[in-house]
């Protein structure tokens, strides 16, 4: 009988052990979840209940040197669509009808290859009251579509300075992977060109965010934490809106002059004005220009096509830094300075111009632009009259001396190098030499040899020499500034929220040429006489300041001549240098000169007179 008692005791014990095991297993699992892995679950619970919504920081404004707003911000009602909606054909079709926008265009704006792209994308800005009302009333029929208030760029001066200012747009999917944009998210607005791009880090503020508590349905329950966005810094440019306006208008008038004087192909032009002592850019004009508002909320495919097709003259290009031209006679100042420096010539050296120059041999005749010839002419007068023969002689001397001294000298003024302006896309240009020619004609051995004609052509700014308008203006500023070429720049200062400067651009010497003061004086005297009695005398007739300048008429194969004018003023106490190019505009004196005069007038606060110049010299 006691055996049965023992058995029963054993059975109760078994049941007890089962109970203990059940509770033990559950507790072990709870220990693992709550104590060992608790932090992970806490994170998941937080992720459940907390939604973080970023609030955009207003982008910094861009001001001109007088503090006038060139670019500011305004609020707009934007139609935003969540990326997930891009596969909803029906939705896109209905949206297309309401927005009167092609379906493909909406899809392109919403589409994103990035997984993380959850943020609604802007499909249209400045939605009309009708669209806003319709979409609000029919909210349930347009899932993932919302009307949001967004800040967009505003341009109080319209297109003025569009190339310097640049345009903005949503960050691209390739950009976002770059280290510079580490903290950015898809959908963020960034500078795409010009100062907007260059000064992105100053203009872009720090996004704020709001952490809100939501329930299981996503309905907000309250704000946990709110961090206000920090607005981007305002930047002050060296640009003077008044001078910029004159510069842009002067190009339009110059092109009209070109058309009126028998050059109907003239369609593009550039002008730049800089402070000779600091390198500050006061005006930078490029024609044709574009409307930066086209890019707000994303540029349409049609507009983009219009701005970039090969018949468009590429309005987005900033010709001041992104176009290269043969400098033509404007380069004679540097050939001349090189001749003075290396003792190849002096101010009163005598030359004889018969209209045709055959020093390199009768089979290689070269013409002066004045086919009748300047007869006996001094070096000084050679600059004033822009006599080609004088510079053929100097160039030929340099060829005979060897060592590519003319090229070396040209590089001392910044030719062939980027000057380091604080704008994206600057081109370096080209100072041709034997090594370049060999390289350039890699597949044409018969054209690889550097010939005397190459140096002679370079001496008058033709041949293979290429410069940007900025380089030419800076080099002339260098002549005015004792041979020091300053780094050109458009940023004057960055302001903090109180309007105090936190960063101020300091003048920097980019290139220091080896010309002596005496040599520079010789050249400056010649350049002053250009505007007083030489190739630009009718342009500057009646101008209330002395101007040192040089005309140029560049020959480009298959095109009409390119008109140049570069100058600095006042000649006795130089402050500003200007360079103007009119593509296929004809004669430098008659077409580019008047534009340069107008810009100098604006710079020096003189009355702006549009002169009808008649100079057809070079």
């Amino acid at each position: 009988m006691s055996t049965f008692r023992q058995d029963l005791k054993g059975r109760f014990a078994s049941l007890g052990i089962i109970v203990l095991m059940v509770l033990g297993v559950l507790l072990l699992r709870l220990w693992s979840m709550q104590v060992l892995s608790g932090a992970e679950y806490v994170a998941m619970a937080e992720n459940n209940r907390v939604r973080e919504i970023s609030t955009e920081a207003p982008r910094g404004r861009i001001l001109d040197r007088e503090g006038r707003e060139l670019v500011s911000n305004r609020a707009t009602l934007a139609v935003c669509v969540e990326p997930a909606a891009k596969n909803d054909e029906d939705l896109l079709y209905r949206l297309s009808t309401i927005l009167t926008m092609p379906v493909e265009e909406i899809r392109a704006r919403v589409s994103s290859t990035k997984e993380a792209a959850l943020r609604p994308r802007v499909v249209m800005i400045d939605a009309s009251p009708e669209i806003v009302a319709y979409l609000s009333e029919h909210e349930s029929e347009f899932p993932g579509v919302a009307i949001e208030t967004r800040a967009v760029r505003q341009y109080p001066f319209g297109n003025l300075g569009a190339h310097v200012l640049g345009y903005t747009g949503e960050i691209s999917e390739s950009q976002i992977d770059e280290p510079e944009f580490e903290t950015y998210a898809l959908g963020d607005i960034v500078g795409k060109s010009g100062a907007e791009r260059q000064l992105e880090s100053a203009l872009q503020g720090d996004k704020g965010y709001r952490r809100i508590e939501v329930d299981a349905t996503g309905a907000p329950k309250g704000i946990i934490e709110e961090v206000e966005p920090i607005a981007g810094s305002d930047v002050v440019l060296t640009i003077d809106a008044d001078v910029q306006r004159v510069a842009e208008d002067s190009l339009v008038r110059a092109l009209q002059d070109a058309h009126d004087s028998g050059f109907p192909s003239a369609a593009a032009a550039a002008a730049v004005a800089i402070d000779v002592q600091t390198g500050e850019v006061l005006a930078m004009a490029s024609y044709p220009t574009y409307d930066p508002t086209l890019f707000l909320g994303g540029i349409s495919q049609d507009n983009w096509e219009a701005l970039t097709n090969d018949k468009s003259e590429y309005p987005l290009n900033n010709r001041v830094i992104q176009a290269l031209y043969p400098p033509a006679s404007t380069f004679k100042a540097f050939t001349g300075l090189a001749g003075l420096h290396y003792g190849v010539t002096n101010e009163w050296s005598q030359y004889y111009c018969a209209g045709t120059w055959t020093e390199m041999g009768k089979q290689w005749p070269k013409k002066c632009w004045l086919h009748s010839g300047h007869k006996t002419i001094s070096f000084h007068q050679g600059v004033v009259e822009s006599c080609d023969v004088v510079f053929y002689e100097i160039g030929y001397d340099f060829y005979k001396q060897g060592d590519e001294k003319l090229q070396t000298f040209a590089r001392e003024w910044g030719f062939g190098s980027k000057l380091g302006i604080d704008l994206p896309g600057e081109l370096a240009g080209r100072v041709p030499d034997a090594a370049w020619k060999t390289d350039f004609n890699e597949n044409y051995p018969e054209y690889q040899k550097w010939l005397p004609g190459d140096t002679v052509n370079m001496a008058i700014g033709q041949g293979d020499m290429l410069v940007s308008p900025l380089q030419m203006a800076s080099a002339y500023a260098g002549i005015a500034n004792d041979g020091k070429v300053m780094t050109p720049h458009v940023l004057q200062k960055v302001l903090d929220s109180k309007g105090e400067a936190v960063l101020t651009a300091e003048p920097e010497v980019a290139f220091a040429a080896s010309s002596t003061d005496a040599e520079l004086d010789v050249m400056r005297r010649s350049l002053v006489d250009v505007t007083e009695e030489g190739t630009a005398k009718s342009v500057f007739r009646g101008f209330d300041s002395s101007v040192a300048g040089k005309t140029g008429t560049g020959q480009v194969a298959g095109k009409d001549d390119y008109a140049w004018f570069t100058a600095f003023a006042p000649a006795d106490n130089p402050r500003y240098a200007v360079a103007v190019v009119i593509e296929q505009g004809g004669h430098g004196g008659s077409v580019a000169g008047p534009a340069a005069r107008e810009i100098l007038s604006a710079l020096l606060d003189l009355p702006i007179v549009h002169v009808q110049a008649t100079d057809v010299s070079r």
Partner: protein
């Protein structure tokens, strides 16, 4: 003879006071603590709901109602059930099928498990059926006097399980069916079945589950719950959502919890069914591992006291009844808590004394009354 053996091995305690005979103070204290603990959690879980106060009031009313059958069960001599095997089997079957009778059933959560009159829900008859099944099985198993020897005996016992089990599975209510099986297994252990039979039952169980899945015998909601249990990522916002949110709630409670009433998973509605099936998730989130340890301590005390009552029972019948109750509660704790932490599939099994639900509360309290009935008639009194 077995009864005699019981009595002879125990110290005779004939000098009991009325209180000493009838009142098991530790048991009543533990049950009171459990019910209080559960009420606190139900209050916290329902506080954020639109009808939260009404729900909590219903919980308290359920407790009050439950005290009545508890006292009756306590007062009635459990041995008097012995002669009522036939009527009890019929009652069991009637209880289970009653929701299927046209006009009496009420469907909720995919199963017709409510008894209703005129569309007013009364109670879930499968709850008292658990207790009736315990008594039926105790009567049957006690006949073998602690030694279930032959295959025929096993078959006979299983036949008495088969009837209610078949009926409950037709509901379909898989969870309750499993409770019936667990109750029977625990009672068979005490009833003296050879351990190798449990291997046979396990085998049959595996085959049954296989057949159920193979022939698509499950209701759609059960099927999805089972599949999600195997792979929670199958349906993260549907059936898997409940499990995932429950685990997040419990895990994020960490050691000491977020504080009573401060559970974000609970208050922000991430937890489904939080006052009923997922009450433990609320406890785990708000009171943490400490809260769980406290609850398990109370359960361990309850089950230990019950085991002691089983051991002191005057006869095997009493021991079997108590073993059935122990099995029922242990299994429900395992299934309910296990489901909230991903160890068990999601079945609608509530947590004893804790979950909201009057039928369930009444059943637990009646079970407590049965424990007390066995206690009051223990050896030596």
């Amino acid at each position: 003879m077995v009864e005699h053996t019981f009595a002879s091995t125990r110290k005779i305690r004939s000098e009991h006071s009325w209180f000493g005979r009838w009142v098991n103070v530790p048991l009543l204290a533990i049950v009171a603590l459990l019910i209080a603990y559960g009420s606190v959690m139900v209050q916290s879980a329902t506080s954020g709901m639109s009808a939260g106060d009404a729900l909590f009031m219903r919980h308290l009313i359920g407790i009050a109602i439950g005290v009545v059958p508890m006292v009756i069960a306590w007062a009635v001599d459990y041995q008097s059930f012995k002669g009522w095997l036939g009527p009890l089997v019929v009652l069991d079957a009637l209880l289970i099928v009653s929701p299927r009778i046209p006009g009496l059933g009420y469907e909720a959560g995919g199963a017709t498990s409510w008894l209703a009159i005129g569309g007013v829900r009364l109670f879930q008859p499968s709850e008292p059926a658990k207790l009736v099944t315990i008594i039926v099985m105790a009567i049957v198993i006690a006949q073998y006097k602690g030694r279930i020897q032959s295959r025929q005996d096993v078959a006979k016992v299983m036949a008495f399980l088969a009837l209610p089990l078949a009926l409950i599975l037709l509901q379909p209510d898989l969870g309750t069916g499993l409770v019936f099986v667990a109750i029977t297994m625990g009672m068979l252990l005490i009833g003296g079945i050879k351990p190798r039979w449990f291997l046979v039952f396990a085998l049959v169980g595996v085959l049954a589950v296989g057949a159920v899945l193979q022939f698509d015998l499950l209701a759609e909601y059960q099927r999805s719950r089972l599949l999600v249990f195997v792979d929670p990522s199958l349906d993260p916002s549907g059936a898997g959502y409940n499990l995932a949110q429950s685990k997040i709630a419990i895990g994020s409670g960490e050691f000491s919890g977020k504080g009573l009433g401060s559970g974000t998973q609970s208050n922000l509605n991430f937890l489904p069914e939080r006052h009923t099936d997922f009450i433990f998730s609320v406890l785990g989130e708000e009171l943490g591992f400490m809260g769980a340890v406290a609850l398990f301590g109370l359960y361990l005390a309850l089950l230990a006291i019950a085991l002691e009552i089983a051991a002191q029972s005057r006869d095997l019948f009493g021991s079997l009844i108590v073993a059935g109750l122990i099995s029922m509660w242990t299994f429900q704790i395992l299934i309910n808590v296990g489901m909230t932490i991903g160890l068990m599939p999601i079945t609608g099994i509530p947590l004893p004394y804790m979950s909201f639900g009057s039928s369930f509360m009444v059943t637990n309290l009646t079970g407590t009354g049965m424990l007390l009935s066995v206690w009051a008639r223990r050896q030596g009194v």
